[in-house]
């Protein structure tokens, strides 16, 4: 689909989960001729959470009107805002998977990801889960081509040790077929 003379919008839907939220959202967007590009949806502690990017020659208020019904029950927040196209990330650098797990306590995510940020690393995907006492973080991240991965891993392990949790940094293993 051409991207000329069309706008890109971010639509977020958050709130109480029930069957049919995605169907209603996408029906509203399709009715305006919008094309859904990247999207993600999950349940966070049972709460519905969806973000999607859609493109089309309409304005934001028309999209909001088409999704009015979703938020009418008062238990779903719907937001629409225009976003600009991001440049495709340049090649280079290395991709890693970081796992952190241990007893739940405040500050695990912030202290560990600070190590990634201080090395110029960029987190590209992140999931955290809490089950009973067990806190779990799994992140995918890119390190700059000149980053010292061993030093980053050591910094992450040291931060984890201070927090009393375990951290493992492994290169992404891609099998090209």
């Amino acid at each position: 689909m051409s991207t000329d003379s069309t706008d890109l919008y971010a639509v977020t839907v958050l709130g109480h989960d029930r069957p049919g939220i995605i169907a209603e959202t996408t029906a509203g967007l399709a009715g305006l001729g919008l094309n859904i590009e990247d999207s993600t949806m999950t349940l966070l502690r049972g709460h519905f959470a969806m973000m999607l990017l859609c493109r089309g020659a309409v304005d934001a208020s028309a999209i909001e009107r088409s999704l009015d019904g979703l938020g009418s029950g008062g238990d779903l927040d719907v937001a629409v805002r225009p976003v600009s196209d991001e440049p495709t990330p340049g090649a280079g650098g290395t991709s890693w998977v970081l796992t952190v797990h241990g007893g739940d306590r405040p500050g695990i995510v912030s202290e560990v990801v600070a190590q990634v940020a201080s090395a110029g690393g960029n987190i590209t995907d992140l999931t955290t889960r809490l089950a009973g006492e067990l806190y779990l973080l799994v992140a995918e991240l890119d390190l700059p081509v000149d980053a010292d991965a061993d030093a980053v891993a050591a910094g992450i392990r040291a931060a984890a040790e201070r927090l009393g949790v375990t951290a493992t940094l492994r290169p992404v293993d891609t099998d090209e077929l």
Partner: protein, 184 residues
């Protein structure tokens, strides 16, 4: 030769009655700590081997159990994947001390669970062809044998336990961990 020896082994060789022990759960520190090497001929090792098998037997769906999972920081585990539909090569029930991977190849991704991480499952890539070395409890004899498919996966999962690693540490990506839907 070693393969036949492992296949012929049963817990009856241990000559002691196994006791059912409590299984510890993450975030228990013993699960994230590499175990100490174990003397395979020590009487307490023989008893622990019998206990691991007894605990595995009474645990629904359990195909392997490492000493750290019963709170003991020693490098020993039991395995029995005989009933599992994804198994190919089978060595029945066996216990290995101080086991290590000699050779591994042909990675495959599959969903794993663990008694010590009861609330999650996860996609983990592991070798489907494997050669391991270890010692049999009681006699202490060294065995080296090759296996494949699900037995290879179970062995790598258990050897990871002896090294203080959980399957969570090998999650294939940020969306490779799942809340468990069915409890066995």
């Amino acid at each position: 030769m070693s393969s036949e020896r492992v296949q012929a082994w049963t817990e009856a060789e241990l000559g002691v009655e196994g006791r059912v022990l409590d299984v510890v759960r993450a975030p228990a520190g013993v699960l994230s700590t590499r175990g100490d090497d174990v003397d395979p001929t020590a009487p307490e090792t023989v008893q622990l081997a019998a206990d691991l098998v007894a605990t595995m037997r009474v645990s629904p769906g359990c195909v392997g159990l490492a000493a750290n999972q019963v709170g003991v920081g020693l490098r020993m585990f039991c395995v029995d994947v005989t009933e599992h539909p994804k198994s190919r090569t089978l060595h029945g029930t066996f216990v290995l001390c101080n086991a290590e991977i000699v050779e591994s190849s042909r990675n495959e991704k599959a969903r794993e669970g663990c008694m010590s991480v009861p609330d999650f499952t996860g996609d983990v890539k592991r070798a489907s062809r494997l050669t391991v070395r270890g010692q049999i409890p009681g006699t202490g004899e060294e065995v080296v044998f090759a296996t494949d498919a699900f037995e290879a996966r179970a062995l790598q999962h258990e050897i990871d336990h002896t090294d203080g690693l959980l399957f969570l540490d090998r999650a294939a990506g940020a969306h490779a961990i799942y809340p468990r839907q069915t409890y066995l």
